[in-house]
Amino acid sequence: MTTQPTYRLSQLDELEAESIHIFREVVAELERPVLMFSGGKDSIVMLRLAEKAFHPARIPFPVLQVDTGYDFPEVLACRDSWVDRLGVRLLVASVEEAIADGVVVDDGRTSRNRLQIGTLLHAIEENAFTAAFGGGRRDEEKARAKERVYSHRDEFGQWDPKNQRPELWSLYNGRLHEGEHMRVFPLSNWTELDIWDYITRERIEIPSIYFSHRRRVFERDGMLLSESEFNPLREGETVQERTVRFRTVGDLTLTGCVESEAATLEEIVEEVGASRITERGATRGDDRFSEAAMEDRKKEGYF
């Protein structure tokens, strides 16, 4: 018995096709794109999709990383491995240099995460980038759920949620005025589980800290933070060695880990599928300060 072809794509293939379409559309229409790379799993999946979109040619735009000075060494190692393999140009915008140059002001109270905003906007302006790919997903957070795939930014890099361009079909509007840029989110329709399923299917190299390992950690504000010279202990905090992994990757002074035995991609997929807490809620100090934390940072020009 022969079966008729169904001509239906799986959800991962459909998401992949949509993301590749977005990458190609931006490169065809916007002159100077750049990919914002955090070293996290989402930005690595973006790199993989960009690789697919232009194969066998090289990725026709550079990769920009905002270095907080507090990045996990494992993440930087993974970044270098990707950049070498793809032969893509890497630009690093350093928060420390931005502070030294007076681009942003470190008042001692503002987190590095927030200082990234000014550093990033400065790098975009300096390089005259007209489009910046970001790894944001709409399932991450309520403010993101309303953001377009092409998210228009004014000359101050600001997002105006009440004045977004309607986005219909797959017809993206990349029109810009002088000094404006577009944030583009090719992973808008992916969920955390889709990302993990895709990483598993494609056997994509990700930083080792996503996998279960022994680490010296301490508890702060209900989160497990990594022992580090950048993370001085406060009174009453004690360091213990635990078996943990990270669900998101960011500034190590703010990014917590979770206790986990998941040491393979398959085990991570199983754990994520069963998890009852959002990845940001569990492990990101930066999103927990207020209910509208992400909305506020996005308006200012956050990723």
């Binding site: 959800q11 065809a28 040619a57 759920a145 009440k162 986005e167 509007n173 810009l176 009852r276």
Partner: protein
């Protein structure tokens, strides 16, 4: 597992946010920290129950006003399907958002309050969904608990809606009595309505057959980008990247490139580092041709005996999305598939009253949130099919050249 995209519509008080909250909660797509935040807010506000609508009201301005102001996208999955919900506000001034949400939807979900019955808005939603060629329509008659699960009430609304949609292009209509608040017929069949013998809403969403909706006959491949590696290894490689709009492409097929009209054969189809045997919508692939033709972005690959219309005259239903009205002689930018051009408005033939379906031919303008039949003349030929046959080659957006803002959405007749 495949993907179903659906758009929801309802008035402010129809319980749409509650229903979405319920679907997310019962499919275990809501996480504990999200639920706890909503429970805490509900307690602070002194509600008797957890307000699931709080799960989806995204922006602070919305929370302050208690309404949803923009299209929001939600995600959930069951073992059978992944779902993307385009959640659009129902109130009158935001027709443009509903058009936006419906543009990518396979299915439209309209909510009515069982106590109110059909309203002007429910009719309007059905009209917009059918205009946007959403093939599958579900009417959820909500708040059945507040009418004592009364069968006659449900059937009256169902019959009235069926009579109304008979005038529209709605190939598949399903009507389901539910209570989003109590969960009746949302995920599991309700014991409170033994007289209802259809499936629950989630069961219907999981099983509705959408494969046949894809257009597989007419080959349409808008060229998006030319891949030329300029490396020693791939010195002579020249491939045409794009997303298949419709039809099935195979190596060896005879093809024509428009607008040049030159013909060739497909030498190969690449998906990253693999050569594949066939490409179909919505795959993003690279097509290589046997002959070295001059092909660039904005061109379209089709079959020699099955071509799209080629014309500078466009006749379309346009939804206008900005305050300043659309007027004759107005000049706009137009984006259609991968082709961008300029367009001038020749005339507005009529405005469609989306409540009564009356065609008002006395008007010569389209205001914000109005839909009408418009004729345009473009600076370049567009390669089009009627929207009714092809959502990709039948749709376009209009852009204000001064502000860069998307001001209109068009569906070609």
């Amino acid at each position: 597992m495949d993907l179903l995209r659906f758009a929801t519509a309802g008035s402010v008080d129809d319980g749409k946010s509650t229903l979405i909250g319920r679907l997310l909660l019962d499919s275990k797509s809501i996480f504990e920290d999200q639920l706890e935040a909503v429970e805490a807010t509900s307690r602070t506000k002194g509600y008797d129950y957890t307000d699931l609508a709080l799960l989806t009201d995204g922006l602070r301005s919305e929370r302050e006003q208690g309404i949803t102001i923009d299209v929001a996208y939600r995600y959930f999955a069951t073992p059978k399907r992944k779902f993307i919900i385009a959640d659009t506000p129902g109130h009158v001034q935001y027709t443009r958002n509903m058009v936006t949400g419906a543009s990518t939807a396979d299915l439209g979900l309209v909510l009515v309050d069982a106590r109110q019955g059909l309203t002007e808005q429910s009719r309007r939603h059905a009209v917009i969904l059918s205009l946007l060629r959403v093939r599958h329509l579900v009417l959820a008659v909500n708040k059945m608990d507040l009418v004592d699960f009364d069968r006659a009430t449900f059937e009256r609304i169902r019959d009235e809606f069926a009579a109304f949609t008979a005038r529209l292009n709605v190939p598949d209509l399903t009507v389901i009595p539910i209570s989003a608040l109590q969960g009746d017929n949302v995920v599991t069949r309700s014991e409170n309505m033994p007289w209802y013998d259809g499936s629950s809403l989630l069961h219907h969403l999981e099983n509705v057959h959408i494969a046949a909706d894809r257009e597989l006959r007419d080959v349409r491949f808008p060229v998006q980008y030319v891949v030329r590696p300029k490396s020693d290894e791939y010195h002579d490689y020249r491939g045409y990247a794009g997303q298949v709009a419709s039809g099935v492409l195979k190596p060896g097929d005879e093809v024509m490139v428009l607008p040049s009209g030159l013909t060739s054969r497909i030498a190969g189809i690449d998906l990253f580092d693999r050569e594949i045997e066939e490409a179909y919508p919505p795959m993003s692939v690279v097509v290589r041709l046997e002959d070295d033709l001059d092909v660039s972005r904005g061109d379209m690959i089709c079959r020699p005996h099955n071509q799209p219309d080629q014309s500078q005259d466009v006749d379309a239903m346009v939804c206008w999305m900005t305050k300043e009205p659309l007027r004759p002689r107005q000049k706009l930018a137009i984006k259609h598939t991968t082709r961008s051009a300029r367009a001038v408005v020749k005339d507005v033939q009529y405005r469609l009253d989306i409540n009564t379906l009356h065609r008002d031919a006395d008007t010569h303008e389209l205001g914000l949130n109005e839909i009408g039949r418009v004729r345009l003349r473009t600076t370049q030929q567009l390669l089009t099919d009627p929207y009714e046959q092809n959502r990709v080659t039948g749709s376009f957006i209009l852009i204000d050249e001064a502000t860069g803002v998307t001001v209109g959405a068009g569906m070609i007749n």
